[in-house]
Amino acid sequence: MKEQENVKRRSGQRETILTVLKYIRKYWIYLALSIVMAALTVSLTLYLPILTGQVIDLLIDKGLVEFPGVFRILKKMAVAIAVTAAAQWIMNVCNNQMTYRIVQDVRNEAFRKIEILPLKYIDGHSHGEVVSRVIADVDQFADGLLMGFTQFFTGVITILGTLGFMLSVNVVVTGVVVLITPLSFLVAAFIAKKTYVMFRLQSETRGEQTALIEEMIGNQKVVQAFSHEDETMEAFDGINDRLKKCSLKAIFYSSLTNPATRFVNNLVYAGVAVTGALYAIRGGISIGQLSCFLTYANQYTKPFNEISGVVTELQNALACAARIFELIGEDAQIPDKENAKELGCVDGSVDLQHVYFSYVPDKKLITDFNLSVRAGQRVAIVGPTGCGKTTIINLLMRFYDVQKGAICVDGTDIRDVTRRSLRSNYGMVLQETWLKAGTIRDNIVMGRPDATDEEIIAAAKLSHAHSFIKRMPQGYDTVIGEDGGNLSQGQKQLLCITRVMLCLPPMLILDEATSSIDTRTEIRIQKAFATMMEGRTSFIVAHRLSTIREADVILVMKDGNVIEQGSHETLLEQGGFYATLYNSQFAPAT
């Protein structure tokens, strides 16, 4: 079982890597250049200590310095330094180009996918999670995978180059380096393993504390109303104390890695110094070579540490890449049919024929639902909160497709027309008001970008939004923040209504939001709604008695199902759920 999982994971990783390569291909020239420059940088960096050693060897004693030789080598060093610096810069720039361009491509593609994802996906996934895929995961992927790749590459060349040089000079001294160095990895690995548990405990405790903070500070008014501050403080201090203890452990033990590996490094250094010096006494190596050896010994462990760091980072980056590719690879909504017609301006008759629909396959929701709405009729959808009134909206707007049966507008199956033309025939005001960041005008003209100022103001007056917009600091050009920013719920609602008022399509979907707008504004909105609905087919999620009573058809919903359907009078006569619901409104308190 576990093995199977492993195989699956590995093949998943291979797939991810292939996808990554696909993105890199476009920028292969940067990659190639970066690799060449990396090789150049590393080899020249390794060459420099050799040159330094050669100079030192020429500084024998008083009066014995051979200056022409010194100058010759110093000149060589200058050239090497210049070339290294140039190569390093080119490498950095190439890496940047490659990384940020790929990030850009991936993000663009992810966003395009978001725009065509079925709503089922958007409704079913936490938005924060999707956002974190597009933002955080892509960043991690870029840093880890691309930077990691170059580090890995230069690291390997450095190790090989150093080893090769050291071996060519002296095998025994090299042996000292190669034998003692692994100790530092063992120590680092040992510490990492030991501290893992402590870190997990720390992050768990920290999570616990954050949860408490969010809960108590988020609802501080309630805490104060019940004078519960002391108890809260006590609970907080309990966690805080535990966190202090486990944080200390985690931070202290993990901070041992550096001193410990540095100590091993010092041992290597001492070992090289002693064995090297002993060889030098016997004339085995020159002093310049010894100094070069010491430089190498000092930096020999660095690429190893980098590589081991890179491996974990690479794995992390691959996981991030997999998450973002999963989003990009997600099935898009069923595209419009190739021969899909443009739905012109409709008169607004809607037929639902034997419609079956459910969000989850094993939980039936709407079964064999039939409804015939003539042009200009009003349909009220009623039922207790959470009964699934939005399901009908989802189907009409084709946010979701029916599973069986068909929905026809003007006699045409809505799956045979383009979504664009279908949706532009509907005007929609939802209860969850949504506004984009931008000016008030931007928000109003969403449906008709070419509307003139006069038209905008006329629409705003009809929806009674004009008076409050006028009072805003910059009127129609006032910028509102993400999701309406500091507008009140009622004002947001009014803007959403204005938005529809401006285009007035032949069919309307309205959600009467009672709780957010004060009663008197609401009366005016009711009037605006009435103007809007004149001669238009309307579907209204209704809370208001008058709306319900004036509707041609009332759909009574419960638990996601349409359980009753008919006019106010017939439904009352039936004495079913609607009748109970209706009567309960008028139950006296005493």
């Binding site: 420099l48 014995l64 108590m216 500070i217 988020g218 501080q220 901070s255 001193p259 009366i523 308190a589």
Partner: protein
């Protein structure tokens, strides 16, 4: 930041010892090149094997001492940093708890939560790193220079030139790029906002066929971001090559000077090697220092933000000692005497000249449009906000003369938002009266119309409520918050639109049950629904912060135009009578 340092006061010893040991470690590190010079000059030069071995032992010894010092330093640094952050958290949490509603409103919850979590962590990290590194790096840089002076003065002057030059490059590039990185962050935030907006607004965007425009807009933002990143990248890509050139150019000069000095016989070969070693130590430490400064800048910014929360003090003062005067029971339990309320920073008054008197045991309905001041009015009874003019009296005494606990224990509030806390149903219900028995809890649950579903829950009173009450429905949550307020039979019960998630039938049953409750509980019911308050003893009608009228349903229907408008909007005239 400065003021936050008092939270280190219990860790004075650690705060001093940590950098001290770090410096010791660095000091021992600086001896290594000198030992090496001895090995080269006297060991190799003098063919002295014994000296080489002895010096080797010295190197190992230096390593061990360095290890011990740095472990000690790490321990003290960690202890001080963690202890500091624990004390800071405690103090900040206590401070936030003591803020009144006015400050909570201005600060906003998400700000306070970020200060408590992310910001404090960042500061903790900063303190830790400063204690560990801030002295070590400069010490090595200048130590190396001083050591160079002990070897040879003219050669050491190369260090004197190189160190400022390197510092200018390292810190210069850092200073140049830092504001640019901030811009990059802003660009990233805007890309993030776009993504989130398109997820939350998917329905509207598709309804208006805006997918294409949104995609174009996103790509533009994304392109801008990439350009900015590339620009900053080009600049910071300079750091490594330029510093490499400086250090190695200095090495060349050093080698040349060394050659001259050796030829003159002033210094030895081994000392040249030592000088070169010192030179290479400088760069590593300068880069570390630059990274450290970034960490410190972040930590300082966070510390300042935290400090500014500390600087906000509660605008409300409470009487500390209970009034010893004898209490007589007043007829009027709640009185508003020409009360005005203005929120901090708001231009206009939210409540103007509110004046009414409520007798013990009465039921009071409060109705009015959104923003008419209903919630503001009831929030003044438990003194969540203070009146700017006039006074609020509970049981005949000005609320400002009460000790906080005494006033609030008389009053129980059911807030608009049904908030429950992680824990069992029992724990939640015991919030107001910790000593209540199970029988009392069940009574409250029954009154709140919650009995049916609580009995069905696994463990009943011991049923565990998840954070934010996520494992309960909206209606269930609301009924439990009502039950919580009912435990202990409060003298005053305030229900702030607390039945909105209940259907009409449950709402009606709830009102009947509360009406039947024992004792003289005075009930305030805030609602948008005329049906909810229709049978109250008194109805207060609010209109734009003013009290339009007060009276019974029948009186108001006859004389109050605002009430008529509200009522008839919900019950059309032709029906109202017949139903």
């Amino acid at each position: 930041m400065g003021k936050l340092l008092i939270y280190l006061k219990h860790y004075k010893k650690e705060t001093v010892l940590a950098p001290l040991f770090k410096m010791l470690e660095a000091g021992f590190e600086l001896f290594v090149p000198l030992v090496m010079a001895a090995i080269i000059d006297r060991g190799i030069g003098g063919n002295d094997t014994l000296l080489v071995l002895r010096m080797g032992a010295v190197l190992v010894a230096l390593g061990i001492i360095g290890l011990v010092c740095s472990i000690t330093a790490q321990y003290f640094a960690a202890k001080a940093a963690v202890g500091f952050s624990a004390e800071l958290k405690h103090a900040l949490f206590a401070h936030i708890q003591g803020l009144s509603y006015t400050e909570i409103d201005t600060l906003g919850t998400s700000t306070m939560i970020t200060r408590m979590t992310a910001d404090i962590n960042q500061v903790q990290n900063g303190v830790n790193m400063v204690l560990r590194l801030f002295l070590r790096s400069p010490f090595i840089v200048f130590g190396a220079m001083i050591m160079a002076f002990t070897i040879d003065v003219p050669a050491a002057f190369i260090f004197v030139v190189t160190i400022p030059l390197l510092s200018i490059v390292v810190f210069g590039i850092m200073i140049l790029t830092m504001p640019l990185y901030k811009k990059v962050q802003a660009g990233l935030d805007s890309v993030l906002a776009s993504t989130r907006e398109n997820l939350t607004g998917a329905r509207v965007i598709r309804a208006f066929n805006k997918e294409k425009e949104e995609t174009d807009l996103f790509q533009k933002k994304n392109d801008d971001l990439a350009h900015m990143q590339l620009f900053v990248g080009k600049l910071s890509a300079l750091t490594n090559p330029v510093t490499y050139v400086i250090v190695n150019a200095a090495t060349i000069v050093l080698l040349y000077t060394g050659a001259v000095r050796v030829d003159e016989g002033t210094i030895t070969q081994g000392q040249v090697v030592a000088l070169v070693n010192y030179m290479s130590q400088i760069l590593v430490e300068l880069v570390k220092l630059a990274n450290l400064i970034i960490t410190i800048t972040k930590a300082l910014a966070c510390a300042n933000r935290i400090q500014s929360v500390f600087e906000i003090s509660s605008s409300m003062e409470w009487v500390q000692d209970p009034d010893s005067a004898a209490r007589k029971t007043e007829d009027y339990i709640v009185e508003f005497e020409h009360v005005c309320l203005a929120y901090a920073g708001a231009g206009a008054e939210s409540l103007t000249d509110i004046d009414f008197h409520i007798k013990r045991g009465e039921t009071v309905g409060i109705i009015g449009g959104t923003g008419s001041g209903k919630t503001s009015l009831v929030n003044m009874i438990p003194r969540f906000y203070d009146a700017v003019k006039g006074c609020v009296k509970v049981d005949g005494r000005d609320v400002r003369e009460y000790v906080m606990e005494e006033l609030r224990s008389k009053i129980r509030v059911v807030p608009q938002k049904a908030v429950l806390f992680q824990g069992t149903i029992r724990e939640n219900l015991l919030w107001g009266s910790p000593d209540a028995t199970d029988a009392e809890l069940w009574k409250a649950i029954e009154t709140a119309q919650a009995k049916e579903f609580v009995e069905q829950k696994e463990g009943k009173l011991d049923f565990h409520i998840a954070q934010e009450g996520r494992n309960l429905s909206g209606g269930q949550r609301q009924r439990l918050t009502i039950a919580r307020a009912l435990v202990g039979n409060p003298q005053i019960l305030i229900m702030d639109d607390s039945a909105s998630a209940l259907d009409y039938a449950t709402d009606a049953a709830l009102r009947q049950a509360i009406h039947r409750m024992e004792g003289d509980t005075t009930v305030f019911i805030v609602s948008q629904r005329a049906s909810t308050i229709r049978y109250a003893d008194k109805i207060i009608v609010l209109d734009d912060g003013q009290m339009a009228d007060i009276g019974t349903h029948d009186e108001l229907l006859e004389r109050c135009s605002v009430y008529q408008e509200i009522y008839y909007s919900q019950y059309p005239k032709d029906e109202g009578v017949s139903l």
